[in-house]
Amino acid sequence: MDKGMDSDREYRSGQVPLPGFGPPDRADPAGQPGPSRRDGIRHVRRMSNWTAAALIVGAGSATVALAHHTMTTAAPAAGTASATARAGTAAASGSGGPQAAHSVATTSGSGVTVTTATRTVNGKTVVTHVRHTPAYHDS
């Protein structure tokens, strides 16, 4: 069992001491020059931890794909996102505009239209679909 590691964890559970400000080292039962050796081990381990953390951060940054940096620059959209959110709160007064008597747009299913017709032939239900060919392309 690695006593040195265990003892290291004991005071780490409370606060992590800065190098040189840790609690006094306990006497090593084996009579070895414990304090300085353990200090050295802790120092190396802390440095290793910092190094590992730096490597993780660095590797993480490197793996972040900067998608839009690699894209050809898209034409900037006019307006802003904040403006987008105001779309529904634009002026609602119906008094200031001109008179509009005719429909200016249609809301409906978009794209290719299929007309479905159902009829009964000899007691059986027959469903037919008539397709209206598109004059455009998807995007």
């Binding site: 793996t63 972040v64 794909a65 900067l66 998608a67 839009h68 690699t70 894209m71 050809t72 898209a74 034409a75 900037p76 959209a77 006019a78 307006g79 802003t80 996102a81 904040s82 403006a83 987008t84 959110a85 105001r86 779309a87 529904g88 709160t89 634009a90 002026a91 609602a92 007064s93 119906g94 008094s95 200031g96 505009g97 001109p98 008179q99 509009a100 008597a101 005719h102 429909s103 200016v104 747009a105 249609t106 809301t107 409906s108 299913g109 978009s110 794209g111 290719v112 239209t113 299929v114 007309t115 479905t116 679909h129 209206h132 598109p134 004059a135 455009y136 392309h137 998807d138 995007s139």
Partner: protein, 355 residues
Amino acid sequence: MMMMMMMTSGPDLAIALPWQQIMTGDRDIAVAERDALGTRAARVAVWPPENLDGACGAVDIVLRALDQQASRFRPDSEICWIHGRGGGLFMLSDGLAEAVGVALAAARWTGGLTDPTIGSALISLGYDRDFAAIDQQCGEPPAAPVPAPGWQSLRLDGTMLRLPPGVRLDLGATAKGLGADRAALAAMSASQQAGGVLASLGGDIAVAGTPPRDGWPVTAADTPDQVGSRAAQLVRLPRGAVATSSVSTRRWRRGGQELHHIVDPRTGRPADGPWRTVTTAAATCADANAATTAAIVAGQQAERWLATAGLPARLVGHDGEVRCLGGWPDADGAPVPVPPGTRVYRGVLRRSGPR
């Protein structure tokens, strides 16, 4: 109806763009449209009419940017680049970060009825390319359905996105609405905040500025070709937005199975509820867009979900029956009561400057 080619102004728009001016009969409102984002029409309506040119130019920039950010079918788009990396941690552009943030907020709001991780499910059904390029009568059956991995598997912190390996995004439940919101505000900005503007992307409509008297006249229809028929309804939109989702459009066949593009994230299969078309009004078009998709997916629970969300809605059943909920007007020409507040822009990254 008069058609004409327009030249848009601005440093990025020195080329002729395919805007076609539409004469509606109201001289004080100018309307133009073009193909965009896989939809028949991006449409812009403005008053005063002299603002049309600048508004179209601003909308062009928005559409180009959104396409570059979020299109699944452009190999040079940002989202395709991310898919090509097979997952990981990505720093997104502000525009895509906002689009993903809105999609995640919508998923949270709808309890997963919409889900941006549905990309693989759509691919397994055969919607893996430009819709016009799909083999409409492919004899091979679709691959086994792939339930969405779940929006909770994504992590978005600011512009940082963690995408699990193998997860493919599809922002179809919100991107068109987001684009309409951006387009309306960009057009207003180009007009120096004067007058009013309506922007429509494939039938998802946002308005900004001051509307015409009694609101913008808008037709709610099951499909685009119903305009003028008795199945369509004229309503007035005083503010906010209106959007429609329908399973009557974007359909294809695989091995004798009829498929469509609104997929239930829980099963990976096309939604098979009782409603073929749902239209809702909301404070923003992204809210309305998400709500209509959620209602189609919710099926039998759609009315309850819409009531809980507090949104007015018009639902069309597979038999053609129309049901109006939450104050959606029964009569033609009546205003739609648009509730205040947005659910999908809450908490989404907001950053000024170009996106």
